[in-house]
């Protein structure tokens, strides 16, 4: 009836205003509900030289975490190597310090880049990526011929721990490129000048701490108090040395009573004693750079760290400092694992996105990275050890890397690692909080372990958290 023209004009206006708004709303925070179009078209033909079938002319996008190692190794070493073989594949190089912020929307939007160096404090959660099927299964990479020698598989050119640690849901999906070797670091110059010996037993370690303390020259021990993960590392390694590798396996698998086991208790008590007696003043409030710089200034003798230390400190280290590391000393005299047992863990994690446009090129890029030349050049450029066997042979390497490499050689098969903290972020944060308290005397070793056990049980019983086992 009175369908007057002015009313319909209002309707029109209203409709005109709402249509774009509705369209924009649909594209907002919630993920796109339709599964992304499978863009990986039929792969190009494979051959011995091109095992994954890299498509000629189809670009490859690479994102590098611009952290301690910078990004120069990618543009100067890895990418030229890849280009030398595939000149028609355009390599789109990118770098960021904020992997999550930049790339998480790309995953949610269904167009992730091919290769990601998912590292640093702002890395994406591997568990979340694995759970959503975003990680390309890299088993094909392991079984492919190595870049250098077609008769040797990639699998045989890298450390076994890389494969163990990079496996999610039975599929090898994360390639740790750098081998992080953990130990107690000191200056060879300081030890030689003062006649201090590397302690082989825990009693000798405590005696050394006492000697250093009494000498008044420097504090015996420190760690990055603001980041107590630097201390739960030697604590857990010690527990594994006392009770065997299964101690850490139990922790990783969230087993009942894993934290309250006897070896854990022995380790927690030992480190709590160090916390009470031998820490540099103010340790609890200092970060890794501040404590490491204090060591460079000869204010403290020893600190627990990984093999990235030397590269990280290269601007503040005196020329004759001569970094070196020693493994966790013998604790009980009847330790399950021998002297020299080391915690080594691959890091600087590279992934290929399963849902990217060109995962074949991504895998080929990683295969190039694992060539002896690429890995060796990388080692030299950023002074560190890679996971590629023998890559640094015959190259000029710094004292710290030499010491770490020797420790690895001496350890042989006696290496341990843990993964629970990478799998379960909340467990990691609780371990940081509680370890800090243990070292500053706020928690007894018993209370510390009970608290960790409680958190582990909480995670175990939380159905929303995906569980992993090793």
């Amino acid at each position: 009836m009175p369908h007057t023209p002015h009313i319909s004009r209002r309707d029109l206006l209203r409709a005109a205003a709402l249509v774009p708004a509705a369209g924009a709303l649909a594209a907002c925070a919630t993920p796109a509900s339709q599964p992304p179009a499978t863009s990986s078209a039929a792969p190009a033909a494979t051959s011995a030289a091109n095992p994954f079938g890299v498509a000629d002319g189809k670009p490859l996008e690479v994102w590098i975490f611009d952290g301690g190692f910078g990004q120069q190794y990618a543009t100067d070493i890895h990418q030229p190597l890849f280009k030398s073989k595939y000149p028609n594949v355009e390599v789109k190089h990118n770098s960021t310090k904020e992997i999550t912020k930049v790339l998480q929307p790309r995953f949610a939007g269904g167009n992730p880049p091919e290769v990601i160096d998912n590292s640093g404090a702002n890395a994406m959660d591997f568990g979340a990526l694995a759970q959503d099927g975003q990680l390309q299964d890299l088993t094909a990479l392991l079984d492919a011929p190595s870049w250098d020698d077609p008769n040797v598989k990639v699998r045989d050119t890298i450390d076994q721990s890389v494969i163990d640690i990079g496996t999610y849901d039975g599929k090898f999906s994360v390639l740790g490129y750098v081998n992080y070797i953990h130990g107690i670091w000191y200056s060879q110059k300081v030890f030689t000048d003062n006649g201090w010996e590397v302690p082989k037993t825990w009693d000798a370690f405590l005696a050394l701490c006492e000697t250093i303390k009494k000498s008044g020259k420097m504090a015996p021990f420190t760690y990055a108090g603001k980041h107590p993960q630097y201390l739960y590392e030697p604590l857990l390694t010690m527990a594994a040395k006392i009770g065997g590798n299964e101690v850490l396996v139990a922790v990783d698998n969230l087993e009942d009573g894993a934290w309250t086991a006897e070896p854990m208790k022995a380790a927690a008590e030992r480190w709590a004693e160090v916390g009470a007696k031998y820490l540099m003043q103010g340790t609890a409030g200092l970060d890794h750079v501040q404590t490491q710089t204090a060591q460079n200034k000869y204010q403290v003798a020893m600190l627990p760290c990984g093999s990235w230390l030397e590269n990280e400190q290269k601007t503040t280290t005196p020329d004759d400092f001569a970094y070196a590391m020693f493994p966790i000393p013998d604790v009980t005299g009847s330790d399950a694992m021998p002297y020299g047992t080391l915690h080594t863990q691959p890091g600087e994690n590279f992934i290929v996105s399963a849902k990217s446009a060109h995962p074949q090129a991504g895998m080929e890029y990683l295969r190039g990275m694992l060539s002896k030349k690429a890995a060796g050049d990388f080692s030299e450029l950023v002074t560190t050890v890679t996971v590629v066997k023998g890559a640094s042979e015959g190259r000029e390497i710094s004292p710290g890397v030499t010491s770490a490499s020797q420790a690895v050689a001496a350890a042989g098969d006696n290496t341990v690692y843990y993964r629970a903290f990478a799998w379960y972020g909340p467990l990691n944060d609780e371990a940081k909080a509680a370890t800090g308290e243990l070292m500053s005397g706020g928690l007894t070793p018993q209370a510390y372990l009970e608290r960790m056990q409680k958190k582990a049980d909480e995670i175990k019983n939380d159905s929303s958290i995906k569980k992993y086992t090793r």
Binding site: H6, A29, A128, G282, G425, G436, D462
Partner: protein
């Protein structure tokens, strides 16, 4: 429904006016809908999914996340810190700011002008407000350093005292955070209260002085009642600040809310769960709870601030 022709015409008149207003409001309202209202509504939906931030098809899990957060001890610790801030931050800031504003405006000999150098102090007090929060946080990390290079511990250690772990001692860290928040907020409220004081007619103070009121009586019997409106505004602002305090905690404290969760707040736990644990669904549920707390606070403060105004 039938409309009479005359009414139709008057409607048309009204629409013309409405159209004019709509033309101006369309753009901002659309932007507001898309970038504020819609994400907020979507958060309610995401809170009921198991979204981990990368999949395109999150599963709907109902109220599981809310049930889970009831048992999340870290989150409830964060809530208690927010509540403590909600009480302490406004009280401490307002008391200090009122005291300074009073001295700067009425603290002089005659009681009608500020103490000597008050214009200079006014500028100095406002400085912290000008600094970005992140800069303040990094600055105070240095101030609170636990060794001899710390601005506070340096002198303490020079006097032969034990250094205080301002950020590393779980019993102290919360108070350090509160201290920084107050330090940064006071300047603004000094200016706000100064403006409020300037709006009060001078003859009121003069009359009170002739009647023999000293500075303390002047403050409690004249200044404060006349400033009550401004104080309420300050209270609401500071309450909001206490609810969404994040940057100082995240940047300044050890382990981002530590040590040992002693300084964490709701916003920090939301951020941690979303961007560190990749539990976007759960983080959204925490966000919904924080939203309810904020709305509750807003209603409460509106109710409590209904008070008769003094006309002058």
């Amino acid at each position: 429904m039938t409309l009479e022709p005359r009414r139709g015409v008057s409607l048309y008149q009204r629409y013309r006016r409405g159209l004019f207003i709509t033309a101006f409001l369309a753009a901002p309202v659309t932007l507001y809908l898309i970038y504020v209202i819609s994400p907020n509504l979507q958060a309610f939906y995401i809170a009921m999914t198991d979204w981990r931030g990368v999949t395109a098809t999150p599963a709907f899990i109902g109220l599981d996340n809310f049930q889970r957060l009831l048992g999340d001890s870290v989150f409830w610790k964060a809530v208690t810190h927010n509540v403590a801030l909600l009480v302490l931050l406004p009280v401490v800031t307002i008391v200090i700011a009122l005291f300074f504003a009073f001295l700067l405006n009425l603290g002089g000999r005659q009681g009608v002008s500020g103490i000597r150098g008050s214009t200079f102090y006014r500028v100095v007090f406002f400085f912290p407000q000008v600094l970005a929060v992140t800069i303040v946080a990094v600055l105070f990390q240095q101030v609170f350093r636990p060794d001899g290079s710390g601005m506070l511990n340096g002198p303490l250690m020079a006097l032969g005292l034990e250094p205080v772990g301002f950020l590393s001692d779980p019993d102290v860290a919360f108070w350090s955070v509160l201290g920084v928040l107050v330090w940064q907020a006071v300047g603004f409220y000094v200016v706000l209260f100064s403006a409020g004081l300037a709006g009060i007619p001078r003859d009121m103070f003069e009359a009170a002085q002739i009647d023999g009121a000293n500075r303390i009586t002047l403050f409690f019997r004249v200044t404060l009642p006349l400033l009550w409106d401004t104080v309420q505004v300050a209270w609401v602002y500071l309450g909001i600040l206490a609810m969404d305090v994040f940057a100082i905690v995240w940047v300044m404290t050890d382990q981002q809310g530590g040590p040992d969760w002693s300084t964490t707040v709701m916003a920090a736990e939301i951020y941690r769960n979303a961007f560190e644990y990749f539990r976007f669904g759960y983080a959204s549920a925490l966000g919904v709870v924080m939203f309810l707390f904020t709305v509750g606070f807003a209603i409460l403060s509106l109710r409590l601030s209904r008070r008769e105004r003094i006309e002058y």
